[in-house]
């Protein structure tokens, strides 16, 4: 009996070691969520952190500065004013907490940008990249000491310029569009989404998306133990339900009401069904948090409520070709 046990152990593959990871996605510029993401490693006792895309925020909050040092802005439906540096710091922190970027400027400069779409776009990109750089610097500085690997990829909402910031990181691994090793597990990552009504930076039609992911999957040595880090969830999986929209970005009503439909990717679904990886991690559709089995693959969408200051994530413990346990968490 004892010998038998030993015999079975000796036949187990080398990958059978247990490894826990934490996955989150769609923090959309919330510095609080990013810092929590980095803190999740030690908090949950995991070896790897995976950020599944959509890192950058969606808006700048212009703060009007006056010559006398005072400032004023409209934020969360309210006018906020102040005079002291401490008050300004508090406002800036509050804006970042909510996933937006503060921008302090005199009134004429703010007015100029209101009327200049190109300058506004340039300011947004410049601000986004500066903030992202701060985030990555923080991770590079803190995480090596904790012995926790950090994997980050951009999502469909993130501008292309983000890639350079991620690639230049020292400890953070830019994992988009390649095979990386998460402990003993291979992981492929893809930040693209199928077409959305907003025509965001990283979108591909289903055929192209399939080809891109298939190209990555073909590089895997052991697909059965692999992790798929794909920003967009699989089509009609229950992880991809959102309300249908018209081409003009208004909601589509059926029978007088919004019409929830699956909006995930057929390509992602097909590749999961074909390859049957160990686990598939997704974000993108904030309101469709959940988990589902597609064949043997455990697919998870952690959802997002980034502007509440809470980060939605999943702690997944892998052991060889099986998911030992998994838990959706809000931190």
């Amino acid at each position: 009996m004892l010998l038998g046990r030993r015999h079975r152990r000796s036949e187990e593959p080398a990958i059978a070691e247990t490894m826990a990871l934490y996955y989150a996605s769609d923090v959309h510029g919330s510095e609080r969520c990013w810092r929590k993401f980095l803190g999740a490693g030690r908090f949950y006792g995991v070896r790897a952190l995976i950020m599944g895309g959509d890192l950058t925020g969606k808006a700048i909050v212009p703060i009007e500065s006056c010559d006398d040092g005072s400032f004023e802005t409209t934020f969360i439906g309210e006018t906020r004013t102040g005079r002291t540096p401490e008050e300004l710091d508090e406002l800036v922190e509050a804006i970042r907490f909510n996933g937006m970027y503060p921008w302090l400027a005199p009134a004429p400069e703010i007015a100029r940008l209101r009327d200049d779409a190109t300058a506004r776009e340039a300011l947004l990109e410049e601000t986004m990249l500066a903030e992202l750089q701060r985030w990555i610097d923080l991770a590079d500085e803190r995480m090596p000491g904790h012995g926790i690997d950090v994997f980050v990829m951009p999502g469909n909402d993130d501008p292309w310029a983000c890639d350079a910031v991620l690639e230049a990181a020292t400890h953070v691994t830019a994992c988009d569009d390649r095979v990386t090793m998460v402990g003993p597990h291979e992981m492929i990552s893809c930040g693209y989404a199928n077409p959305t009504p907003w025509h965001t930076p990283r979108e591909l039609d289903e055929d192209a998306l399939y080809a891109r992911i298939k190209g990555l999957a073909d590089q895997l040595e052991d697909p059965a133990t692999a992790i798929f880090n794909l920003h967009v969830p699989p089509y009609d999986s229950g992880l991809d339900t959102a309300n249908e929209m018209n081409a003009d970005l208004t909601l589509k009503y059926v029978g007088g009401q919004p019409h929830p439909i699956p909006v995930g990717s057929h390509a992602v679904r097909q590749i999961i069904e074909e390859v049957q990886p160990l686990v598939a991690l997704h974000g993108h559709i904030h309101e469709s948090r959940g988990e589902v089995r597609i064949g043997r693959t455990l697919a998870i969408n952690t959802g997002s409520e980034y502007n509440s200051g809470h980060i939605h994530g999943a702690v997944v413990t892998l052991a060889g070709p099986e998911v030992r346990k998994h838990q959706l968490v809000i931190g």
């Binding site: 803190g39 700048i60 907490f97 940008l113 009504p197 970005l249 009503y253 009401q257």
Partner: protein, 545 residues
């Protein structure tokens, strides 16, 4: 529950936004205001609470009582509202208390709130007949001279079969109106709200147009035709006086205190949109708190105004006398609702049918509103991994149908018990307010602590407001706790409120759910641990790096 839409390039707030995916939510501020208005709807307060309040506090001044209830209402509105702004998620007290204080306390709160909700739902199932259909039939039968209708109206109020039929039908209606998503639900809700409001406005309009002498004349004419009594108006007052009813009592502040506690049974629940906090548009803005405050204060102002109107039109002494059993037996209607008196004044069967039918809509409406607490609590607990994920199933319109079904089935079970053991049920029903106040006080406690336990969340929210350097949410929270303590004291102190006769039962139905909630948390945590899941992880906030 949320919808995706484009973010504008330059938002209304002055934001510079880029093209990216975004979220808006389904409940606009106007509908949110109506949700908060309904639990304290003045029609219901006038119909069911006012006269009871006058009876328990003879000599008490209802106007002063209403004025003193205003700060209580505001305390709860701002405690719930400011916390909901900080944590704009569905689940109400469970979400607020578990996230700010501790998950175990969140379960104490949700068990108390749900116990009160189920008891209230069962009461609504009874009331649709006893306070709605039965008075409708009796009133219309008397005014229109349909003796069969009077007889049937009296019969259905005591028939278990009819009570079950109409009560369960109403639960089904309250559920059905939620099946097709928020858009339809809110449409139906708003239409029903205006119907109920119209019933009060019509009676108020009548009170403005018609004089008291007109009412006295019409009432005497109506009563004479049935009872043969020549001056039933004066007879009603003198009969009540003979029975010991003080129809014109001298003012007593001491007697005003229990009236405050009675008004609190409907007036301090204007926080109901907290249960759908994750579905409110602009939930993070001060509008969330303000709609709760308005939803509480406007009904109180209307109750004061309509009370004055009806006192003027019918005579306050007559109203107290009629409520105190002074009406001749042949023309008595349960509770003598003002719809009945107004209809007599107008002298129209059609008017009676109209105002009663408009009013009856209140009962499915309040049942739907009440069920939001149970469905969203179930939903939130499943979201946290405590209940099976399967209960979060939504239909193609986004309605959490399984959670709704569970809530209504639990309500139906309590309702059936109420039908078959009315005495036992009504003994317990009076505890509903007190057990609910435990949950409300815990939210107040969360409000007091939120700026200190969750400082980052507080500072980054629109709830960061202070008075004399003290956070407003803490002040509101303290006010909520004090209000809860006062109402508890009143219900224990005043015998006429009917709660202190059996203290053992009282504490079993109030402290019991709290203990059960705590035990449930411990049991779930222990069970999940055996399955390799640490449930405490679901709630623990990650320290930011």
């Amino acid at each position: 529950m949320s919808e995706a839409q484009a973010v504008p390039e330059v938002g209304k707030s002055g934001l510079f936004a880029r093209t990216a995916t975004g979220l808006v939510r389904g409940v606009p501020p106007r509908s949110s205001l109506i949700i908060n208005f309904i639990p304290g709807h003045p029609t219901q307060t006038m119909a069911a609470v006012l006269l009871f309040a006058l009876a328990v506090g003879p000599g008490g001044n209802p106007f002063l009582a209403l004025l003193l209830v205003v700060p209580m209402t505001l305390a709860f509105s701002y405690a719930f509202g400011l916390l909901t702004q900080m944590i704009p998620r569905s689940g109400g007290d469970y979400m607020l208390v578990s996230r700010v204080v501790h998950p175990a306390i969140g379960y104490v709160s949700v068990f108390c709130m749900t116990t009160a909700g189920l008891l209230s739902n069962a009461f609504f199932g009874l009331a649709v007949v006893t306070a709605g259909l039965s008075p409708l039939c009796v009133s219309v039968g008397l005014i229109g001279d349909y003796p069969g209708l009077v007889s049937w109206g009296n019969h259905i109020a005591t028939s278990k079969g009819w009570l079950l039929f109409f009560g369960l039908l109403m639960f089904a209606l309250a559920g059905a109106m939620q099946l097709f998503g928020w858009r339809w639900t809110l449409r139906i809700q708003n239409v029903a709200f205006w119907m109920v409001t119209a019933s009060l406005l019509l009676c108020g309009l009548m009170a403005i147009i018609l004089s008291k002498s007109h009412f006295v004349s019409k009432f005497n004419g109506f009563a004479k035709g049935i009872t043969g009594q020549p001056d039933a108006y004066a007879g009603t007052i003198s009969a009540a006086v003979k029975n010991g009813v003080a129809v014109s009592p001298a003012f007593s502040f001491g007697q005003t205190l229990p009236i405050i506690a009675v008004f609190a049974t409907t007036a301090i629940f204007s926080y109901w949109s907290t249960f759908v906090g994750g579905e409110l548009r602009q939930a993070s803005t001060i509008k969330t708190s303000n709609t709760m405050a308005l939803g509480g204060v406007i009904p109180l102002i209307l109750v004061a105004g309509f009370t004055a109107l009806f006192f003027h039109a019918f005579g306050s002494d007559f109203m107290r006398a009629a409520n105190g059993g002074g009406l001749p037996e042949k023309i008595a209607v349960p509770g003598t609702p003002f719809f009945y008196l107004s209809s007599i004044a107008v002298g129209s069967t059609f008017f009676a049918i109209l105002v009663f039918v408009l009013y009856i809509v209140f009962w499915p409406l309040i049942t739907y509103i009440s069920s939001l607490q149970q469905t969203r609590a179930i939903f939130a607990m499943a979201y946290d991994g405590v209940l099976p994920k399967s209960v979060t199933r939504v239909n193609r319109y986004g309605c959490p149908w399984l959670a709704l079904l569970i809530a209504l089935l639990m309500s139906a079970v309590v309702f059936i018990w109420a039908v078959f053991n009315a005495t036992g049920f009504f003994q317990v029903l009076v505890y509903a307010l007190l057990v609910q106040l435990i949950a409300m006080a815990l939210v107040g406690f969360a409000g007091v602590l939120a700026p200190f336990l969750r400082p980052d969340l507080y500072r980054a929210s629109a709830s960061q407001k202070s008075v004399a350097g003290i956070p407003l949410v803490s002040i509101a929270g303290a006010g909520a706790i004090l209000t809860a303590v006062y109402v508890w004291w009143a219900y224990l102190h005043y015998d006429q409120l009917g709660t202190n006769a059996n203290l053992g039962k009282l504490f079993a139905w109030t402290i019991g759910p709290a203990v059960l909630g705590f035990a449930f948390y411990l049991a779930v945590a222990a069970y999940k641990k055996t399955r390799g899941t640490d449930i405490t992880l679901v709630y623990r906030e990650i320290p930011p790096e």
